[in-house]
């Protein structure tokens, strides 16, 4: 086991900032409702809600295929098949390309001082290949993903708080 699994990396403040937005709302229920609606808009199923703690966990399965990766693997398999005089046509490389991904996230809304509610999202993904084997798992750290998610969330919170 790596020694640092429960230690905060130096980048933790930057990561926290990337994963957090603060909204002005009189109560966190409105923020949670808007968040759940935004997640539904994005096709997520809600797995867990605990209102008293501001927790929403959600997940969805999505396509993970990459055209370039698929083309490369098919080419390799075809060459292997031809050069082995059709004795090694197992499609192994194509079977190892990414197929689907399970995305799971947690959204926590936390009341701050005054009328502010902070929302923090953490996202993970598990990628499976064509044979159904887990090929990769990771925490999502791409700022663009969080920006895009908060753009939708901000709109939903605005509509909810303004009662539109």
């Amino acid at each position: 086991m790596p020694r640092d699994v429960f230690r905060l990396p130096e980048s933790s403040m930057a990561v926290r900032s990337m994963q957090t937005r603060v909204y002005t709302a009189s109560d966190d229920t409105a923020v949670m409702s808007a968040s759940a609606a935004a997640l539904q808009d994005m096709g997520y199923a809600i797995d867990e809600v605990e209102h008293a703690l501001g927790v929403i966990s959600a997940s969805k399965r999505a396509d993970a295929t990459n055209q370039m990766q698929a083309f490369g693997s098919l080419t390799l398999d075809s060459m292997k098949c031809a050069f082995s005089f059709f004795l090694a046509c197992d499609g192994k490389n194509y079977g190892e390309i990414d197929d689907v991904q399970d995305i799971r996230l947690t959204l926590i809304s936390m009341p701050q001082q005054g009328d502010d509610v902070a929302v923090r999202i953490t996202i993970q993904k598990m990628i499976y290949d064509k044979r159904g084997r887990l090929s990769a798992q990771a925490t999502v750290t791409d700022p663009d993903v969080y920006d895009a998610m908060f753009a939708k969330l901000s709109k939903a919170v605005f509509l909810e708080v303004e009662g539109i």
């Binding site: 086991m1 790596p2 020694r3 640092d4 699994v5 429960f6 230690r7 905060l8 933790s12 926290r16 994963q19 797995d47 867990e48 605990e50 008293a52 703690l53 501001g54 927790v55 966990s57 799971r104 996230l105 947690t106 926590i108 936390m110 701050q112 001082q113 902070a118 923090r120 953490t122 996202i123 993970q124 598990m126 798992q137 990771a138 925490t139």
Partner: protein, 136 residues
Amino acid sequence: MTKKIAMILTCVTLSACASQNAAITESGSQVHTRHMQTRVYDTLDRQDTLRSVLATLQDLGFVIDTADYEMATITATKLQEYRIRMTVTVRDRDDSRLAVRANAQFNDQAIEDPHAYQDFFTVLDKAMFLTMHKVD
């Protein structure tokens, strides 16, 4: 001969079952395990304590699997090249303190290294301070 082979196979199967079943209840020293997995805080605010646990888990890259305020239990998973699953519970220790207990698995193995739990509680200590004092 066939009888002998059948007996050997039965023994092998039974011992495999027995060793698999042992995992259901196995544990180290209960007192030692509880001690390293528990930290006591001078507060009775269960909600703020649970919110601090959530903030700590998010800081460490976990996604929350389940969270229950009434039962004061949170389970979360961290995915990197490895998988860590952790459960944290909050209970009254006495009339002025709460006890936070965490236990975790690294891939398929229970984490028994006290330093790992010390690291976790070091991060939780900071989150508790920030939550109790409402610092951003």
